[in-house]
Amino acid sequence: MTRYVMAIDLRRCVGCQTCTAACKNANATPPGVQWRRVLDLETGEFPDVRRSFMPVACMHCDEPPCEEVCPTSATTKRPDGLVAIDYDVCIGCANCVMACPYEARSIVDEVRFAYGDKPIKSEEVRFDPARVSVATKCTFCIDRIDLAAKTGQVPGRDPEVTPACVNSCISGAMSFGDIDDPESKVSKLLAETEHFRMHEDLGTGPGVYYIWDKK
């Protein structure tokens, strides 16, 4: 079996938001919608304060609550672990938005571009009218993953079939791959580090691992 996951090394993330920009460029999300964003957290009290950065997006859960509540079956869990949305089936009821504990989903009801009424080049190429008034979210760059099946390339190793955010990360904080393959980069990385998954207690089985220390 294949189970694609993402590992994010919080020790390496510098909060540069390059992944956010790369995602926007790759997916042409409208203004105000960020499938991937980086939280900027200040904690503690002076003089013992810390600043941490935490990239967040759809967690592609093992037990996606969005899939459970979706009344249309537009949201599905694929055998390879990706949670996908069929834009032609979704009715935009927002039940999945309420069900997602990661605030990963958005619905935008009007066509919006970054600079006024006219799309910029990347938006021109990637604008998809099917995404208006339906739920959208990070897809783990699903087209690239599907391309891998045709080309024989390996997601997480070959950039052409790896999510844009992972490719763009300047500090190498983000890794992607098949956790069921013990030889994949993510499997090895997770084996040698301390990590957690967000809101695990909710039983969602998120597919994004946050690395916070060495073992």
């Binding site: 939280l39 900027d40 009715i91 997602c100 916070w212």
Partner: protein
């Protein structure tokens, strides 16, 4: 150089949901009350009272609620897709119960059959239950997913239905026995609702929830308890004594019972519906070589 300022929580704090507005709230408000009214009317029909007008009112309320939610969805022309996921989706199940409610309600109206009326009442209760489960399944909203939310939403739907029956009391010509039964039923449901409300708020506080949710719920506590239980109970007490005009007191109690339920549900859907927020369970180990405390901004209570 100007110092950079940081927002508390850095985008991780729970925020009030913005996707379900008054139209979605109306579905829970009208649909819950309508389903509850059908159930209450079914019980009343067992005493031989003609409840056809109440059946129409119950179905109309459910219809209004569903119309509101239809106006809210992004792709209304695809609305029939809502029937595609009965396996796990309570929204699909709610949508499936609706035609059953209308079918049985219409049959009961046309035939005046007690059996059809009772079945319509049960379908109305099932509709209310489905709505409670819809909210409960939404894991992203801690105030909804709490197990104590389900009995509260179900109880308030039934209490609102009984309240609407009380509002209609002056027009449905109740005998002494029916009137006593109505008052007892409304009182019982108000008691159940206020207990469910208090249990819900207490449980939410003890398990922890976004502070915004706790604040929004605390803001209506007095109105739910006093306006939605104590005051109507007093009016029902006056009503049962049989003074002239006592039926007006029963109707007034019904108005209060319904108003409190609608306030409760509007608050639950629109004002207390804060998202889970995001959490940093472990601070990354950098520099000094130690991890810092976990960060979960915007949460209150004991959790």
């Amino acid at each position: 150089m100007k110092a950079k300022t940081f927002k508390a929580g850095g985008g991780a704090s729970p925020r009030l949901q913005q996707n379900w507005d008054w139209r979605a709230a109306s579905n829970f408000i009208c649909g819950g009350a309508g389903g509850g009214l059908l159930f209450a009317a079914a019980l009343l029909s067992l005493a031989g009272t003609n409840v056809r007008a109440l059946l129409v009112a119950g179905m109309a309320l459910i219809g209004i609620g569903l119309t509101c939610v239809w106006l809210e969805i992004g792709r209304p022309l695809r609305a029939m897709n809502v029937y595609r996921h009965i396996k796990t989706s309570w929204m699909t199940r709610e949508a499936l119960v609706a035609p059953v409610v209308f079918g049985l309600g219409a049959l009961a109206f046309l035939t005046n059959s007690v059996i059809a009326t009772v079945l319509a009442g049960l379908a109305g209760a099932a509709f209310v239950y489905s709505q409670a489960r819809i909210l409960n399944a939404d894991k992203g909203i801690p105030a909804w997913r709490h197990p104590a939310c389900r009995p509260l939403v179900f109880a308030t739907g039934l209490a609102e239905g009984a309240g609407l029956l009380a509002v209609a009391a002056p027009w449905i010509g109740l005998g002494v026995a029916s009137r006593t039964g109505l008052v007892a039923g409304v009182l019982l449901l108000l008691l159940v609702r206020v207990l469910a409300w208090r249990a819900y708020v207490r449980a939410l506080r003890s398990s922890g929830a976004p502070t915004g949710s706790l604040r929004a719920l605390a803001a209506i506590d007095q109105r739910v308890v006093v306006g939605g239980a104590l005051a109507p109970a007093l009016l029902l007490g006056v009503g049962i004594l049989g003074f002239p005009g006592s039926v007006v007191a029963i109707a007034a109690a019904g108005v209060l019972a319904v108003a409190a339920g609608w306030l409760l549900k509007y608050t639950l859907i629109r004002r207390a519906a804060f998202t889970q927020g995001l959490e940093l369970k472990h601070q990354p180990v950098r520099g000094r070589g130690v991890s810092g405390p976990a960060a979960r901004p915007g949460w209150g209570g004991a959790g």
